[in-house]
């Protein structure tokens, strides 16, 4: 039976509603839009010929890297969701004589099509908003029209995002085909190797040590070298955070699983323990933003106390860049949480339905899901705020850390991050309810 004849079956509206169709598309749109803006902005710096150009180019690349990693993993989640959205139809399609190859092709084609539509919308959005982006001042002047991505770049970007979606969908579907229950069937939770932890802590100590000696020798270096050293230092710290994050969440969850006295807490802790990496994927973005936020806060305090001069513009520009990075990260976090939650709700729908049949309230399931995200979130936010402070103190001293500006910015970033994750949980709640209470013909 040809894929073509089965396509209408796949495209029939499913019980999960339009949200599941729209979510991945919106996510791809946002991913492309953000990438378009950031790439466009970064590109603008490369047209500069001023002496500062090299520094700005370096910073642009750092910001791009900061945003690209979570954006790419968001793209992967979106593809996974759109591919799995209809895997309840797989069995039916197989019964109709479709080979698993056909089913795979259909699911991947659907995810790719959604990504393509999203990417085109995203590119258009980037073009539409580039005049606004052009208003952002750098080096004392608005970026202007140079922030607009040329058409060839836009096409390339849309193609890259679509390709990413296709390969993620393929990978994800392959896993589903091998074990229909996917991750749920895994027998032992993944552990982080101890070597990783030792290396991570060592790297962190080296950076902190370098920074504390940096304060004395820093003045002798030029501004460009200083920023480069700082950038690399903070980059390493964030990488370490990324490595340690899942391990930390695993440790926390193991303790909580042992202590849990309510069903909600027990399920939540066990869910995190099942895959600390998956938990980290949802909250890690906020951790990284918190890290950047603390530094942005201290930077602002420094800026307030510093006297005017040529370095004033540079500091202001760095702050502008940080704000853009933070806003972009928040958008990415919001999408990631929403998508991951939607995907895991859909993956577990048969079980949710059965548990509800057995008398578990949907609100109990929802609370378990909430704790499985919020409790790791609070831990990683605290840890990354502390880590950033530890690195900043030897550089700039304790006083700046407790300046009202620093505290305000840090608190603002943390609260926004937690609220955004909360919103991601909230918007997927109706999906959980619909899935758990759906009446389906089969038992």
């Amino acid at each position: 039976m040809s894929a073509l004849r089965l396509a209408p079956l796949m495209l029939r509206p499913s019980t999960q509603g339009a949200a599941v169709l729209a979510l991945p598309m919106i996510a791809f749109g946002i991913v492309t839009w953000l990438l378009g803006i950031v790439v466009g902005g970064a590109r603008a710096f490369f047209t500069w010929t001023t002496p500062d150009a090299a520094l700005y180019q370096l910073l642009a690349v750092v910001a791009l890297a900061l945003l690209a990693v979570p954006l790419v993993s968001l793209g992967g989640s979106a593809a996974r969701l759109s591919a799995r959205r209809r895997d309840d139809r797989l069995a039916a399609l197989r019964l109709l004589g479709a080979t698993s190859g056909t089913v795979l092709a259909l699911a991947v084609a659907e995810a790719t099509a959604l990504a393509l539509v999203g990417a085109i919308l995203g590119v258009a959005g980037a073009a539409a908003t580039s005049p606004l982006i052009g208003l952002i001042p750098f080096a004392g002047e608005p970026l202007g029209a140079s922030a607009l991505l040329p058409a060839t770049w836009s096409i390339g970007l849309a193609a890259a995002v679509t390709l990413l979606a296709a390969s993620s969908a393929l990978l994800s579907m392959r896993r589903v085909m091998v074990t229909p229950l996917g991750v749920a069937r895994r027998e032992t939770p993944a552990r982080v190797h101890w070597i990783v932890i030792v290396l991570a802590v060592a790297a962190m100590a080296i950076v902190a040590g370098a920074f504390s000696s940096f304060a004395s020798i820093g003045a002798a270096l030029g501004v460009v070298a200083m920023v480069a050293v700082l950038g690399v230092g903070f980059g390493i710290a964030m990488l370490v955070l990324n490595l340690l994050g899942p391990w930390l969440l695993g440790v926390q969850a193991r303790i909580q699983a042992r202590r849990a006295s309510s069903p909600v807490r027990l399920i939540a802790a066990r869910t995190v323990l099942e895959s600390p990496k998956a938990a980290w994927r949802q909250v890690g973005g906020v951790a990284l933003v918190t890290f950047v936020g603390v530094i942005a806060g201290v930077g602002s305090a420094l800026l307030g106390s510093a006297d005017a001069g040529g370095e004033m513009t540079l500091a202001a520009d760095i702050r502008t860049g940080l704000i853009i990075t933070i806003v972009g990260s928040f958008l990415t976090v919001a999408c990631t949480v929403g998508l991951q939650q939607a995907a895991s709700i859909l993956d577990g729908r048969a079980l949710s339905r059965a548990l509800h049949h057995g008398g578990m309230d949907v609100s109990t399931m929802d609370a378990a899901r909430r704790w499985a995200v919020l409790s790791p979130l609070l831990l990683v936010v605290a840890v990354s705020a502390i880590a950033a402070s530890v690195l900043v103190v030897p550089l700039l001293g304790m006083a700046l850390l407790f300046e009202p500006v620093t505290v305000l910015i840090t608190a603002g970033v943390v609260v926004t991050g937690v609220v955004i994750v909360g919103v991601g949980l909230l918007v997927t709640r109706p999906l959980l309810r619909r899935v758990a209470t759906a009446h389906v013909a089969t038992a």
């Binding site: 229950l181 749920a184 069937r185 895994r186 027998e187 032992t188 849990a260 006295s261 309510s262 069903p263 027990l266 399920i267 066990r270 869910t271 323990l273 099942e274 048969a350 079980l351 059965a354 548990l355 509800h356 049949h357 057995g358 008398g359 578990m360 309230d361 109990t364 009446h439 013909a441 089969t442 038992a443």
Partner: protein, 278 residues
């Protein structure tokens, strides 16, 4: 006094009539098998009896210590609570929480009705032991065979002392040997202790081990089965098992965490397994 009885159940889904007017009486301690062709309405009937779906027309009377209630008239939340506290469920494929261990899955049912964790785990382990799963308490669900997972599900269905257990094709995914073992476990854990079992099956051998077989066709009960007059099927009680509830106090005591003290739950041994037509 019936454990549960339905009158005039009708349920349609768009143009499809799933139930076309079903009357059924199930006495305490009965093991009723519902049979019939695919699409004849077995699952819908089971769901209507268990308060998972509400019928368009008709009533489902359930005996509780607080008197008889019409399940079909309860709110969503009340029906969910009823299922949690008074019923047990066994599905075709375990439907256990894969992140939890075997013993935690069973204990979860108790914790959901308010039992503290330590005692819930203890009780759950006792049930697993009595179902031949001693030593597997800390296994994850992915590490259990289909038959073992079904026995964990049976423990979960009965650990709260549910008065009625509903099972929809509990052996549907198992080979015939495992199916017979799981059926023995299910019968001994339910009717063997005076509880009521309502089970949907396509397997005549499974049905034959129940005290009554009813048959459905096109949303109607075409055969109400022998012994349908209301008397429970003769239920030989092997020495050592709990006596069935006395007539008139049809419903088993609920869990101490939310009601009157329960009778002591004695773990079963294999010798005590109860087979109606053995």
């Amino acid at each position: 006094m019936q454990a549960i009885s339905a009158r005039g159940l009708r349920k349609t889904y768009g143009p499809t009539t799933a139930l076309a007017g079903v009357d059924i009486d199930i006495a305490p301690g009965e093991a009723v098998a519902i049979m019939g062709a695919s699409g004849s309405g077995k699952t819908t009937l089971l769901h209507a009896l268990a308060g998972i779906v509400t019928p368009d027309v008709g009533a489902v009377h359930l005996a509780t210590p607080m008197g008889v209630v019409d399940v079909a008239r309860l709110s969503d939340a009340e029906r969910t609570r009823l299922r949690r506290e008074r019923f047990g469920f066994v599905f075709q494929e375990g439907m256990l929480v894969p992140e939890l261990t075997a013993v935690e899955n069973v204990a979860l049912a108790l914790m959901l009705v308010g039992a503290p964790r330590a005692s819930a785990i203890q009780e759950a382990a006792m049930w697993l032991g009595s179902l031949g799963l001693a030593g597997m308490e800390d296994r994850r669900i992915g590490q259990l065979s289909g038959g073992q997972a079904q026995r964990v599900a049976i423990a979960r269905a009965q650990v709260t002392g549910a008065s009625i257990v509903f099972a929809d094709e509990p052996t549907g995914a198992l080979d015939s040997v495992t199916s017979a073992e799981v059926m023995s476990a299910l019968l001994s854990a339910t009717v063997g202790r005076g509880r009521t079992l309502v089970l949907v099956t396509h397997d005549e051998q499974v049905a034959a081990r129940c005290s009554r077989v009813v048959r459905m066709r096109d949303g109607l009960l075409v055969d109400a089965g022998a012994g349908a007059a209301g008397a429970p099927a003769a239920s030989p009680q092997p020495a050592g098992t709990l006596a069935p509830p006395a007539p008139g106090t049809a419903v088993a005591a609920p869990h101490p965490a939310y009601g009157t003290p329960a009778a002591p739950r004695v773990p079963l041994t294999t010798e005590q397994q109860w087979q109606v037509r053995a």
